[in-house]
């Protein structure tokens, strides 16, 4: 047992660091470090830079143009990229639909869609949840009826994150009402420019436009956009969720944001005029998160190492452990950052989240994003399968209750 990098891993880490130092645009990392608003162009720019280096898809096998990195190497890359202030790559294409297309899509689909995800040309969004189908996803009602060489799709998807930028959406649709609800679901890839699609913003509690409602009104989808077999979509969807939850552990990002919290606590002044970090009541809370994050990192590495030994087994239900703990830790960091800012966090100054802002400020630069982040990040324990659903999965799949 050894928790340190092997010589190979340590050489790899140096290579990643050198690349980040040379290629990550300072203006971009400035935005990330200071939690300014990121636009589509920021994510796409970073994806292109990575793609040029051959690192566009850290999690993909080489056969599809990925890096072929081991799970541990992917973790090292993510950790270093997060530490340097690189933006997160867009999960929907890279980590969500791509693994499904690789595992269950046909060759034509793989050749058509994967290269454009890799290069950043296509922006994908997810069409899973509906107004009436959240945790009970299998009750979804958006229907797709086969008519000749098309499916005709009607219905409504909710929480389409960054769907306002999207070129494509991967959707779970109902193709049959026979049998159990899970048995009549199919996995469709739909062009967002199709006639009959309407995207309407849902404004989040921090005032930001991040998610949307997506309406489908007699949208014609060519049958070749069906992934795998008709009515087998539920299996593919479950496969995808396992991939998503590893990412939700988000250890690299939390490590950087915890460092930032420590910096904020050194800069902020407590009511007694001393640095806030000297207040044991506050400092203990930071220490608590630090200890839990260290534990989560090792838990993640244990899981990834086990996965590397038996790749076919996949991550399985232990991903739920990572999702719950990762999101709880993330939320704690954002809450403490807001608390550290004191009442300076109360001013709502969304303009201050744009680079070059020169208007009024209340408190330090970190204070501008503190409350918005806190409010927004309540989503962490809700999306990707709420933490309560994750507990159901743990108790059923890991504990056999």
């Amino acid at each position: 047992m050894d928790l340190n990098d092997t010589p190979e891993q340590s050489a790899f880490r140096r290579e990643v660091r050198a690349f980040l130092a040379a290629q990550l645009p300072p203006a971009l990392s400035h935005k990330v470090q200071h939690r300014l608003r990121l636009g589509k162009e920021d994510t796409v720019l970073w994806q292109r830079i990575l793609h040029q280096r051959g690192w566009g898809a850290p999690g993909w096998p080489k056969a599809f143009g990925g890096t072929g990195w081991s799970a541990i190497e992917q973790h090292i890359f993510e950790e270093e990229a997060a530490d340097a202030g690189a933006p997160r790559q867009l999960d929907f294409g890279l980590r969500m639909v791509a693994p499904v297309i690789m595992a269950f899509g046909n060759k034509a689909q793989q050749e058509r869609f994967l290269p454009r995800i890799l290069s950043g040309e296509d922006w994908w969004c997810q069409g899973y949840s509906e107004p009436g189908a959240g945790s009970d996803l299998a009750s979804l009602r958006t229907r797709a009826e086969r008519k000749g060489q098309h499916y005709v799709v009607n219905g409504q998807k909710a929480w389409t994150t960054l769907g306002q930028h999207a070129d494509w959406i991967f959707c779970l649709v109902r193709t049959s009402t026979e049998g159990r609800p899970q048995e009549g679901i199919s996995f469709l890839l739909i062009d967002m420019k199709s006639k009959g699609i309407t995207v309407r913003p849902t404004i989040m509690l921090d005032g930001e436009h991040e998610v949307n409602e997506t309406y489908f009104d007699d949208v014609e989808v060519p049958v070749e956009n069906l992934v795998g077999e008709e009515n087998r979509g539920w299996t593919y969807a479950k496969f995808l969720l396992g991939h998503e939850r590893t990412g939700l552990a988000n250890v690299g990002q939390w490590k950087r944001l915890l460092k930032r919290l420590e910096t904020v606590a050194r800069r902020e002044t407590a009511s007694n005029g001393r640095p806030l970090i000297e207040d044991a009541r506050f400092r203990d809370k930071v220490a608590q998160v630090k200890v839990e994050l260290l534990a989560l990192e090792v838990t993640l590495l244990r899981v990834l190492s086990a996965e590397a030994k038996d790749a076919k087994k996949g991550l399985g239900p232990v991903a739920s452990v990572l999702k719950i703990k990762g999101t709880e830790i993330g939320q704690a960091i954002f809450e403490l950052t807001m608390q550290a800012s004191g009442h300076d966090a109360l001013a709502y100054l969304p303009e201050a989240l744009e680079p070059g802002y020169s208007g009024p400020r209340v408190g330090g630069e970190h204070a501008a994003a503190a409350a918005g982040d806190y409010f927004n990040m309540r989503k962490l324990s809700i999306f990707g399968g709420s933490n309560e659903i994750q507990r159901n999965i743990i108790s059923q799949m890991l504990l056999g209750l």
Partner: protein, 380 residues
Amino acid sequence: MDFSYTEEQQALQDSLRRFLAKEYDFEKRRQISRSAAGYSKEHWRTLAEMGVLGLGIPEAHGGMNGSPVDTMLVMESFGRALVLEPYLPTVVLCGGLVRDAGTEAQQAALLPAIAMGELLMAFAHYEQGSRYALEHVATTAKREGNGYVLNGAKSLVLSGLQAGKLLVSARTAGGARDRAGVSLFLVDREAPGVSAQGYVTQDGGRAAEVKLADVRVGADALLGLEGGALPVIERAVDLAIAALCAEAVGAMDALLETTREYLKTRKQFGTPIGRFQVLQHRMADMLIAIEQARSMAMVAAVKVQSEDAAERRRMVSSAKALVGQSARYVGQQAVQLHGGMGVTDELAAAHLFKRLTVINATFGDADHHLAQVSDSLLVA
């Protein structure tokens, strides 16, 4: 990064688990706990034969030259079975101290005897009023002629009555809370002036209050440098904490398993109570707490070997804090989920809970160690 165990480590763990499954069920353990000695001499011999007692001892002295990771595997197995044999005081603490600070002659005299199961030792360090402060030593050792005279009282000395030899910390210089001036002495348990009042601890183990009244020892009784023992003691205690973290993980694993069985068999409202979501979610949270604790037990076992003392202490404290919190949560909830049966003496659950409670308060509880981590943020 590598989380795998060597073949030797796996073989050791397998044989230990087989032995414990066969010889250490709940009833047998209860009999051992109620015996006068509080441990089984037969089991102790078996552990010696298996090489477990010599695990951390250099090969030159009859041991296996194992690492804290080996100790982790042993302690995890011990935790599952609630083993009472005094492995922690004799092997981990005193064996570690003699190995790390003893002279060649001291090592040759003591280590083979420990490895062969012929000698029990106890670490007489804490005193009433010291709480978890390792530097708090009021017991004195005054030079007299060629040797020293020891006076003072030691508290909660694990196996203090059973041990043949004690390692006693005493002040050769400085005030009661100074870091400098603490020395370690080898003292025969039966030496004139040594008296021990033994008692049972909350978990069924054994400890003693040890008094030292004009105890005379020779110069060769000094272990390590005069006045410079504190760093050695801190490292030995860190090794013990790493071992306790692993033991707690084993105990929590056993507790989750027995609670799971209970939830699947106990019926109320016409259905196994494990069908109720409120209990399922509690169990999920217990599982998460255990996985996090397991990770930190590994951190402790690896980082306790760090050359950088500050890093070593911060990591060991991080582990003890989180393991202590997890132990409290898992222990309390397991009792709760057992309902009335959980608060009886009849089920393993209550005994695992008590052991976990004792582990939390041994060598610093979760709050104490979280404060160490917290204060380290001030220096960063």
